[in-house]
Assembly symmetry: C2
Homo-oligomer: 580 residues x 2
């Protein structure tokens, strides 16, 4: 049994109203809330880094916000979660500097969350190629952790970063550096976190029972095969959930469900293919207009004792009474989850309700989980110690620059340019491959955009008429072609799709994944690992980005049979974007 | 008569001791000091951004430090001074985001200082070409101020920044944006600040009587010919001085002079050509060993009533009694300076002495300058209003992106690459010119390094023997060749050099600047604008970076006749580096 810790999680959401001073109030309210959380015993406050995601997240400089929070709090840990590591967004030296400075002003309370960046708004805004962001993450985290421990940092010459030897100052209070985390949204990335020996910060609103499998695999990898990305291992799994607490369940729902649903809706907006016109698109209005058809119908949420058992996937999350939420947490605890972090400041949720919930959590929920926590954590540390020691021995050690180096601006600039040139693919063949991959990705996304326009606003009947069985064949063949084995986390087997039509007929399709390849055929599967049952029109809406599977699922318009946890990663396996 | 405001100025200096926890103490002491300053009535706290400048400045993430300070203070303004604007250091969108976020958490208390970056450690570390940093500053400040006011920012396609339309959020509390400043170290950059309609943050330790000419020119340009870089004009001139205050002058000197001198020594170390081995060079020890020969002899500073009249140039600054310092401030006030900012945390200056000085300043100096300040400021604003209105009408207005833009990652990446390619010089000729300029700059700096090794540690006699009149001819011809008209601020006329030798003989040399060109000849000048009298050996030491003119001046080893204020800009005019 693990010890469980609690966090608050901030996106700084702000439905567009145009009111004077609303951003300032949002920030000052959040600081007040965190002050309360610190007092009542929350362990973490997490603050995202997102750029240009109007309404969904006005938290573009979390280093500034968390530094402000550091002076309003005494013991709560400051989760810098997540910093976008592609060097086009943040120069690695600037990341090391700001993390260290935050560690200094907070007296060593920083947790350093990392991510690749993922929305089109951010990747396009900073000119980061989607196909290279994982490689950029790996490169940057290696460089940054070396900046923490090497004195001086011995320099870097990769495709993404060229930097001469420098002593990067200041240094962190925590040694060798603050605990590392990575944003995860799929089982594959949880594995990735484990292989890198860093904490998994999971945003996939996973049910406790599914989380159990994730944590089991996570710790198996940590104990057996991880090669740490940093110079310390941080074995921890955190799940993130919307929350609102009240003794009266109906009040909790009334206060919290719109915010939770807006959170889900706006996430789908920015990470799907919904068109976005910067400064103009009003996501909050779109939410109010389209929430029901997107699966976020307010009326479907009914207060009842069993609610939290089934509705995590629908973003009901931890909206309920202290008993309900404590029960939910117990299940995560049983699943081996180390931390649950709550999103309270979502949509238009009210400041006073958030403060009340935090106080109530501190009074009525948190005390149930405190007893024996330190002991259990000590036991866990002791149990993992040999594995961690072995893992750290596998990581390439800190380098020692021989004395006598001299800073030399001109020579360094020349060397950096040479290194950058050398990292570029040379010759006609790799260059052509690059152009081709880019053209393909681009063409695909262009096609999806056109597709969205054909689908959006049409009735089921219209869509079914326009896209018959022949069109279905094209789409399934396309999915199979776009299959990306690196995103499949080793999955092999049959995926079955049963597309129902208004006239009651069903078209069965199967995609077989084997030997790193996918193949589509019409007809039922022999041994489907997962069967997806949905309307033909809704299926096409999903492909076009006009509907999202989680919402359909909650609406009862999409049913799953078999290995549920495979479902959320289908879109990545077949070439779609993910939220982190 | 202007109204004068007061600031504290932080570099976060930390002589290398290797003690555990020293950086954390440095930061936490600074926060305590700022809290006192806020309480006793200081108006500004300025925090630099410097990278890799060990010992001289451990302030690499001022956005984090100032955010912490925002929650410890109520009314003091937070001077982000200066943010390095080359996009290789900070992406312009990240700068806009952090300035806005700091403005939010501080309730609108940010002043936004900007600079080009200038040390070899920083330019080489981030791969910024020295010859392009001014152009990068201009490009970035235009983009950043548009990010503040355009909603959405309509995008950017220049040589240095390619960014598609995005709504950069959050927005600042202060409208249209926080007051802008630029770091200045020479008369030329003061003019530059005025032409751009932004505050001049001057680091050149200028004497009050010289400052009068600067402010006069500054306000003449503001009123007549400025084209604002931002969307508001910030007409202000700030000077920065070391400070330590005590009723007993000898105590003030004892507590403050080493810090002030280390400040000057370390500045010369990083902005001259002294070799630096990252993580190894001990600047504090070099200071202790070489302070006297570098002109920072502790014993030369003697408590006497007239001290502050003559020693500003020697970094005595505002180290003295309340009466002395108030007198000095009166002279700056009379010179039209709008703000004096004090460096207290320098070298090994003690926390308790700094706190005492801040308290004493609040009690005994500040009250003398408060009366009628608001009225005088209102008068100034009223007087300048028509000129500012006219200036703002000259600035290209905020753009309005037509509605209907759609975020499109692929298309945006392709467009960014195309824009970058288009901005590159094409064809053989410009490309060759680029290579040539770079090779020249590099060769020059290489030569200077070799020269340093020939000079360093030699006696006057050795140097005179080795470099006779023939060598002098080579150096003067070289200076004339390296003359850069863009750094001369319109100067024309004769500069005379009188090089004295141990045997009592004098070699006179003249450099004539006319029509954008410089020419050197042996012999006295007819009408020298400035005459520089120094030993032949010291002159060569200065050229090699082994001595610095300010120290020689203070030591009496260098004398000036004529237009004093021309002297500090000689090194830039003839191709040397500057501290900002």
């Amino acid at each position: 049994m693990v010890a469980i810790r609690f966090g608050l999680f901030y996106e700084h959401q702000m439905p567009r109203t145009g009111e004077q001073g609303e951003e300032q109030r949002l920030y000052s309210d959040a600081l007040d809330q965190i002050e309360i959380a610190d007092r009542v015993g929350f362990d973490y406050v997490w603050e995202v880094e997102h750029h240009f995601l109007e309404e969904y997240s006005h938290s573009s400089a979390p280093e500034v916000f968390l530094a402000a929070a550091s002076q309003r709090t005494k013991r709560i840990r400051l989760g810098h979660g997540i910093v976008q590591l592609p060097p086009g967004v943040n120069h690695p030296a600037r990341v090391a500097e700001r993390v260290a400075t935050l560690d200094l002003v907070s007296g060593g309370r920083v947790d350093f969350g990392t991510g690749e960046s993922s929305s089109s708004a951010e990747l396009g805004g900073f000119g980061v190629r989607r196909g290279e962001k994982r490689a950029q993450w790996s490169d940057a985290i290696d460089a940054i952790t070396r900046m923490f421990v090497e004195e001086p940092f011995a320099g870097w010459e990769s495709k993404y970063l060229q930097m001469p030897p420098r002593n990067v100052i200041p240094k962190t209070v925590q040694k060798p550096h603050p605990p590392l985390w990575v944003a995860c949204s799929r089982r594959e990335t949880i594995h990735f976190a484990a292989r890198n020996g860093i904490g998994a910060l999971s945003f996939s609103f996973v049910e406790p029972e599914d989380a159990a499998k994730w944590t089991e695999e996570y710790y198996r990898i940590i104990e057996n095969e991880c090669v740490p990305a940093g110079f310390a291992v941080n074995p921890n799994v955190t799940v993130v959930l919307p929350m609102m607490l009240h003794e009266d369940e109906a009040v909790a729902i009334d206060r919290g469900i719109d915010g939770a649903h807006f959170f889900g809706f706006a996430l789908a907006h920015y990470y799907g293919t919904t068109p976005h016109d910067p400064g103009r698109t009003n996501v909050w209005e779109e939410f109010l207009e389209r929430r029901a058809q997107s699966g976020f119908d307010r009326d479907q949420i009914i207060a009842n004792a069993e609610a939290l058992n089934v509705n995590v996937g629908s973003l009901r999350g931890a909206v309920g009474t202290p008993d309900q939420v404590a029960d939910l947490i117990r299940r995560y605890e049983a699943a081996g989850v180390d931390q649950v972090s709550f999103v309270l400041q979502a949509g238009n949720n009210k400041h006073e309700h958030i403060c009340e919930s935090i106080e109530l959590f501190g009074k009525s929920v948190l005390p149930r989980f405190v007893e024996g926590r330190e002991e259990r954590e000590a036991q866990k540390a002791e149990r993992l110690a040999p594995a961690i020691e072995a893992a750290l021995a596998r990581r390439k050690p800190a380098r020692e620059l021989p004395p006598g180096y001299r800073i030399d601006e001109d020579a360094e600039l020349v060397r950096a340019r040479r290194a950058k040139r050398a990292a570029r693919p040379t010759g006609v063949r790799p260059a052509l491959a690059l152009v081709r991959d880019e053209a393909r990705g681009s063409a695909r996304r262009q096609m999806q955009k056109g597709f969205y326009r054909l689908i959006h606003g049409r009735s089921d009947a219209e869509i079914e008429r326009r896209f018959g069985p022949r069109a279905q064949r094209v789409f399934f063949a396309g999915m199979a072609r776009q299959y990306d084995a690196s995103m499949a986390g080793g999955f092999e087997g049959e995926l079955e799709f049963r597309l129902t039509r208004a006239d009651g007929t069903v078209s069965p399709w199967t995609i077989v994944v084997r030997d790193g390849k996918a193949r589509a055929r019409m007809g039922e599967a022999r041994e489907p690992v997962l069967t997806i049952i949905t309307g033909a029109a809704d299926f096409l809406r999903t492909l076009s980005g006009d509907a999202n599977p989680a919402s359909l699922l909650m609406d009862g318009k999409l049913k799953l049979r078999g290995d549920f946890e495979l479902a959320p990663k289908l879109s990545e396996m077949f070439g779609g974007p993910s939220p982190y």
